[in-house]
């Protein structure tokens, strides 16, 4: 269908690939092979995949072709997908980017993985992540860093650095990540792709390795808003095996993408301007917001006065929940075990050698915040401030349909730039954390470039208003051309390891 098929196949959106597959212009096996070939060429340098599922992908693609021939294809049949390595897969190791789970083979699929399998999707592999999804640069992966496809001396963001870079570099058509404090939206922004964090409870988390259970949510990365909507459609909905998943009806997200946002009220909050924000980011975001006005939206000033407290509150709540969740890694049931004379020493040595520096830092912080004498001052206090953060948003929703803000205060920073100062690293998520604290959905979409690196606009909506933020994001995307830009990987190959 094109002169250079291997390259062009990996530039297709789901919508384009769906058409080509359904018309039998290409086969699912050809599509999978094009991606696998590209992974072979570029991933030694980019570090996107911790495990490439080559055999699974080819077998799934062959099954997809049989399904296409039989005429019972679904929206994701034959679509090549990367899975963040915190999602359990029965046929591939799942490590959460941690030495403590090296070689772990889950006994079951995550619900989202099962739903994608039922659709006939093709799994390219398990994508790199900060260890247990804790980080903002992917530099906390125990195995290797991910490099930003736009500039390989820059981080891809985190914790879902692998899934974000995979889609940006054409090493997957779409991918799934998880977002606890911005781990989908921030790397989507740094890599110039679309990243959607759904409402807390919209997507089942069975088989997602738990980090902070009152905040974690699974969502898609894609090159277009429509692709993100299609992928969310496939994974959203109640799951009897996750009692925190919602019974709220799942609407038809694609039908919400009308391209028309005239008359919609979009909130802008002064609190989403911080010291240290890069001028190139501020300019691009400002232009994007004005662009929404030119599309017919009404801009409304809103106040979210407790925004500045979201980051410190998060760094009590999330580590506290993590310290409890990660207690399960004890060298008894699975994963690394360092045998010692007593059970207690076995626990301590296994966890001491199995966890990396950031995970240890958060376990320590969380254990401290929960410990006797400090529980009220830190943990309960943080829960009360969380109430105030949520009330800010509840108040805003009485005035506006959505709120727009930068996704991050900066573009992707250099590898190593923030690894010595944990709190500087934490500040990378200053604009994404409030949505997790309030449980609301947010989408990050490309809105320009600064220093040759992508800038991202974040659109937040009320709980279960994914259709609203997708509609705004899609209307913006239709009138801009950012999604058509690709990083030049040919120079990477020249500098690569082969």
């Amino acid at each position: 269908m094109v002169a250079d098929p291997l390259f062009r196949y990996t530039e297709l959106s789901i919508v384009e690939a769906r058409r080509a597959l359904d018309h039998r212009d290409i086969s699912a096996v050809e599509l999978a092979e094009a991606y696998l070939e590209r992974i072979g060429r570029f991933d030694a340098e980019l570090g996107v995949y911790l495990h490439v599922m080559r055999d699974t992908a080819i077998a799934q693609a062959a099954a997809a072709d049989r399904r296409l021939a039989a005429g019972d294809a679904m929206p994701l049949t034959g679509i090549p997908i990367a899975l963040k390595d915190v999602l359990c897969t029965i046929d591939a190791p799942t490590t959460a980017g941690s030495r403590i789970l090296e070689g772990f083979h889950p006994p079951y699929d995550a619900t989202v993985v099962r739903r994608l399998r039922e659709q006939g999707a093709v799994f390219l592999g398990k994508a790199n992540t900060d260890e247990f999804a804790m980080g903002s640069s992917n530099e906390n992966s125990a195995f290797k860093p991910v490099r930003n496809p736009w500039r390989t001396d820059r981080v891809p963001g985190g914790s879902s650095g692998g899934p974000a870079a995979a889609v940006a570099a054409g090493l997957a058509m779409v991918s799934l990540g998880s977002d606890t404090g911005g781990s989908i939206r921030q790397p989507a922004g740094f890599c110039g792709v679309v990243g959607l964090k759904p409402t807390y409870g919209r997507v089942s988390r069975l088989g997602l390795m738990a980090f902070a259970s009152s905040l974690d949510q699974i969502g898609p990365f894609a090159r277009t808003v429509e692709d993100a909507a299609i992928t969310l459609q496939a994974i959203a909905g109640h799951d009897t095996q996750d009692s925190t998943s919602s019974r709220e009806a799942v609407p038809d997200y694609r039908s919400a993408l009308s391209g028309d946002i005239s008359g919609m009220k979009i909130g802008v909050a002064d609190e989403y301007t911080v010291e240290g924000m890069e001028p190139g980011v501020a300019d691009a975001v400002h232009q994007a917001i004005e662009h929404l006005r030119s599309l017919g939206a009404e801009l409304v000033n809103v106040s979210l006065p407790h925004t500045e407290y979201a980051l410190p509150t998060y760094y009590i709540t999330a580590p506290a929940e993590a310290s409890a969740n990660l207690a399960r890694y004890d060298g008894v049931k699975y994963g690394l075990a360092i045998e010692a004379p007593t059970l207690r020493e076995t626990y301590e040595r296994t966890r001491g050698e199995g966890f990396g520096a950031e995970v240890k830092r958060r376990i320590m912080l969380g254990t401290y915040a929960l410990s006797s004498g400090y529980y009220d001052a830190y943990y309960v206090k943080a829960q009360k401030v969380r109430t105030l953060i949520k009330r800010d948003f509840d108040e805003a929703w009485s005035k506006v349909d959505a709120i727009v803000a930068p996704t991050s205060p900066t573009v992707a920073f250099p590898l190593g730039a923030r690894t010595d100062d944990p709190y500087q690293m934490y500040l990378a998520d200053v604009f994404t954390i409030p949505a997790n604290m309030a449980g609301i959905p947010g989408i990050a979409i490309p809105c320009g470039f600064s220093e040759g690196l992508p800038v991202s606009l974040q659109i937040l909506g009320p709980a279960f208003a994914e259709a609203t933020i997708l509609r705004i994001a899609d209307a913006y995307e239709r009138s801009e051309t950012w999604a058509a830009r690709w990083p030049n990987l040919e120079c990477i190959q020249a500098a690569g390891h082969d």
């Binding site: 500045e308 009590i316 007593t342 320590m364 934490y426």
Partner: protein, 101 residues
Amino acid sequence: MPLTREEVEYVAALARLGLSDAEITRLQGQLSSILEHIEAIDRLDTSAIPPTAQVINMTNVMRSDVVTDSLPREAVLKNAPRQADGFFEVHAILSASLEDA
């Protein structure tokens, strides 16, 4: 308020986290610095504010108390570092001193 070395060691013991001397030194500084930033929330008067532990409008999700299929025992045990007779195997904790547990 900076953490003392003893506090860091105490918290590590609570978390069953074996740390080297160098790690304890590094964490003492880093945790103290992070806590200093976190203490910004003390500026807020929250005496009349109820806590939020979760943000969804659900309470007490119930299901029928019926037996359903579960994973086969081999699947559950296949990743175990040590197993015996179809069970996870752990060090005996009662044969030596109780404090070892």
